[in-house]
Assembly symmetry: C2
Homo-oligomer: 217 residues x 2
């Protein structure tokens, strides 16, 4: 279903958000994400939603009628602007090269109308990495995770099994530790791993990750 996005500006008052969500509920519209933007004095809140049976325009009109609302602008969705996300995490040296490969490949697809973002965080430590892996499934629009490092195992491996059960694809560099065993695909060259990650999620590519499962390159 088509996702719509609106930016609502309003005088800041208690219960404002509760009043705004009532409009979506009344129209059977599903809010899929919401962000509150820090401003001076006023409140600025962006909503992404899928309309119910009634058109999105009716939701917008009723939002304008909520007490304190000063403006409601229809805006592009994050999916239209930043698109699908690939997350790369691990040691700085490896994350950098995976990012380089993925950015070069995403450039080639985005030119043809795709929208793929490459988001990265250099992180060390079993607990920090396991927490970051688990949190990936709570980030919006993430399609694939690349684990880039020299050794990863233990709690990180458990987290990889968990997020794969939630439908996330995971590519691991060939490295020491048990993470490669838990991943969908294992790749030795970090630049190639980045390129394959993009090809796996691009609608403009013919690479089918599902056919490569458990292969090692």
């Amino acid at each position: 279903m088509a996702v719509h996005a609106v930016l609502v500006t309003a005088l800041d008052r208690p219960g404002l958000l509760h009043g705004l969500t009532r409009v979506f509920a009344d129209h059977g519209a599903n809010i899929t994400s919401l962000e509150i933007h820090p401003t001076q004095g006023d409140s600025a809140i962006s909503f992404e939603f899928t309309p119910g049976a009634e058109p999105a325009g009716e939701v917008v009109a009723d939002l304008r009628a909520v007490e304190g609302v000063t403006s409601v602008l229809e805006i592009p969705t994050f999916a239209n602007i930043y698109g699908k996300r690939i997350i790369v995490m691990g040691g700085g040296a490896q994350v950098g090269f995976v990012a380089m490969g993925a950015i070069s490949e995403a450039d080639r697809h985005n030119i043809r109308g795709e929208r793929i973002s490459i988001d990265t965080i250099p992180l060390v430590g079993e607990q920090a990495l396991a927490a970051a892996v688990r949190a990936v499934v709570r980030l919006p629009r993430v399609k694939l995770l690349v684990l880039a490092g020299s050794i990863m195992g233990g709690e990180i491996t458990t987290a990889v099994w968990e997020v794969r059960k939630n439908g996330l694809f995971v590519i691991s560099l060939n490295m020491a530790g048990s993470v490669p065993e838990a991943a969908d695909l294992v790749v030795s060259d970090p630049v190639q791993a980045g390129g394959m990650a993009v090809m796996a999620v691009a609608g403009t590519a013919k690479f089918d990750l599902m056919r490569q499962l458990k292969r090692k390159y």
Copy 2:
């Protein structure tokens, strides 16, 4: 004020979100962000919020009492896991090298307890880039934008002036077009631009971007 995060699982029903936001409103708690996670059957919604006068535990207890809610878990906030974000956008070749510099530098700070993510999107075209620049201020936790390319101007420059008025720092590579004139700082070497971007937002660094404003390197 301390931000708390909870993951609420509930039976999917109309008006669920409206019922949940009532709990935050009743306790004077401010929701700062919210994400709906795609699941089969159930609804999973994560909230980040700052409590009002009452402790966060009371909000959690009352969320558990909402009709249809099956579990409420306290979880780490995205700020604790992924931290401050630097966004790099523009041509793939330059974005890759800025990312490389920024990831290497962020690695050194994250090891000392910082949390800095480097998020990138290779994009071409005046309209696509201007829209992406404008949308950056709607993304959570973004501290700085790096524009990396060979020529940028027109509507992109207008967008840079707009987001700087909203408090975002902008570093531009030295390039053709009017974007460098609109940026806070202009840097010729993309790897150095990435490093400076990280130093500018890191609490663990001594580099003060405010003292470098309008300098060219």
